[in-house]
């Protein structure tokens, strides 16, 4: 790996004065990205499941909850993943479930990301009393167990949809991202170029978005990926307890109905294995993708 050690920028992690053009930087990141097996494998699995979730439902004619086939069939040529004890097609449910799983991840993760980064940036950049208050708020939400709060809140909703679920998940799962962003912003806020921007009289929001955020963009991307995976897991838990979207399809709801109609005791493994496997594969490859990204962006980790 001798050619990597001499690569421009790689030996200079502290962001020194040496100017590297954006073009050069992009190609450098790409150079490491295509050589990182963790990144490629993770991305490959996530993308293929995403494509399946987006385009798969177009090839399925019936509603996923419709009773189409013979009851309790193990996987066969016609019903790839078998059928439930009501004769629903598990493959159809799985494909639609993937779609809603990605939706809830993007939605819940997105809401959490917006709240978390905003709180983190403002707290880290402003400091002082604003920081104190926001930090206290973060700590309060952090110690509240998210799933239990969500159970109590959603239990009172008469009709539940993916949208509402995503908003509530976002509202409860942002604190650690706020903490992480805050500590990064705190160290960046005292840099010379930020001081310069402040002297030139720019708005706080402009300074945050143009001076601070771009310098931690990789960090932000990784936070979003983790929030994405986290929301999927929380949503699956909610669905499993029976607080999922009403009349919807999701991998968590599949697990719920498999449990409720005792597929376990009937030996219908094809009912509960695919949904859990789907969730594990999505979230697990997101995490592994994240490690890969970390190695690509962080020169210190490249030698490993």
């Amino acid at each position: 790996m001798s050619e990597i050690a001499g690569a421009p920028g790689a030996a200079d992690p502290a962001g020194g004065p040496e100017p590297t053009t954006t073009e050069r930087k992009t190609s450098e990141v790409l150079h490491f990205a295509v050589r990182n097996p963790k990144l490629l494998i993770g991305l490959g699995i996530v993308l293929s499941l995403l494509l399946l979730g987006i385009f798969g439902p177009f090839f399925i004619d019936q509603d996923p909850n419709e009773y189409v086939g013979p009851k309790s069939q193990p996987p066969n040529g016609e019903y790839w993943f078998g059928t439930t004890s009501f004769g629903q097609d598990v493959w159809a449910q799985f494909v639609y479930g993937l779609r809603s799983t990605f939706l809830i991840g993007a939605f819940g993760g997105g809401v959490a990301f917006v709240i978390g980064t905003t709180v983190g940036f403002v707290a880290g950049y402003k400091g002082g009393i604003v920081d104190e208050i926001l930090n206290m708020l973060t700590n309060v939400v952090l110690v509240l167990p998210a799933l239990v709060v969500l159970i109590v809140i959603t239990a009172y909703l008469e009709v539940r949809g993916v949208f509402i679920q995503g908003v509530f998940i976002g509202l409860t799962s942002w604190p650690w991202a706020a903490r992480a962003v805050r500590s990064q912003a705190l160290s960046l806020a005292t840099r010379d170029y930020v001081d310069l921007a402040r002297l030139s009289g720019r708005r706080t929001w402009r300074i945050i978005t143009t001076e601070i955020a771009p310098n931690m963009s990789s960090y932000l991307v990784m936070s979003f990926i983790l929030l994405f995976g986290g929301s999927i897991l929380i949503a699956a838990g909610l669905d499993f307890i029976g607080l999922g979207p009403s009349n919807g399809v999701s991998l968590g709801l599949m697990l719920e109905s498999a449990m409720k109609w005792s597929s376990l005791y009937l030996g219908m493994w094809w009912w509960f294995i695919p949904p859990g496997l789907g969730i594990t594969m999505i979230v697990g490859s997101l995490y592994i993708l994240n490690v890969g990204l970390d190695e690509v962006f962080n020169p210190k980790l490249r030698e490993l």
Binding site: F240, L255, P275, I279, V291
Partner: protein, 331 residues
Amino acid sequence: MWRYIGRKLFVYLLTFVIAVTINWMIPRFMPGDPVRSMLSRASVGNPEALERMNEYYTGVFGLDTPLHEQYLSFWAGLFRGDLGISVMLFPQPVLDIILRSVPYTLALLVPAILLSWIVGNRIGAFAARKKLLDNTILPVGYILTAMPYMWLALLLAWSLGIVADVLPTANGYSPSLRPEFSWLFISSLISHWFLPFLSMFIVALGGWAIGMRNMIIYELEADYSNYLQALGAPTRLIRRYAFRNAMLPQITGLAVQLGTVLSGALLTEIVFNYPGLGTLILQALNNRDFFVLQGTFLFVVVGVLIANFIIDIVYVLVDPRTRVQMTGGAA
């Protein structure tokens, strides 16, 4: 030191107040009539009884008094230990029902958290910076943390409980026994406890192993490690120092992960129909018993706060630096 503990206590107190306020607000400000929807599911056939229950619960919620009075009387009830009367098990107080379930949840949660933490840390420390081990343990760890708790529970129940038929897969003890202090009952308790415990232990393990591995790598790059290495100290010694330093963030991590592991315990209990708080929540939801649900919520929050506080104190005891800083600051 007292300032530090005081600050922490203040945050926990604030959290408690907020949790109680959420608890009070939800039934009042959510769309829909909580009393009506609760009673409609409670399947009370007799219209006269329905009318009386309706009256009773409107009185319990205090829905006919002004808002601030409702709030104050809610707190007053809380301090009397009054969490209301259950709907599904009608004349029983909610507090009694919850207290009956708590021991089961604690029996699952405490060993699972502590053992997975200890074993995970060991595995992570062992794997760090060893190419082959690292490349196998890292993906396995990530896959384990990505697993939904209930799915692993289902897999274990199916493979070990149903297919291999070696362990029971439901309830807290054999339904043919009565709770008593005898060998038969205790062995039944343990055999029913084992599978839920195992599934929680495995899922939690991965996260700790990964966290420890990353921390060890970070510590091995620190100046003191390089210095020790330059002095020719044995690798084992350097790793031991790194391990002790890496423990500190892992203790903080324990506090952060508490909520996740707790939700995992609730979900795992549901799979195994284990008579703890998770199963209680599910029953309360199915019966629309909001008193039990909200009581459980408060109980869980208080438990998490107490556990956080214990972890804070442990941290002060374990890390000599914070202790010195704090006594220095107080003097």
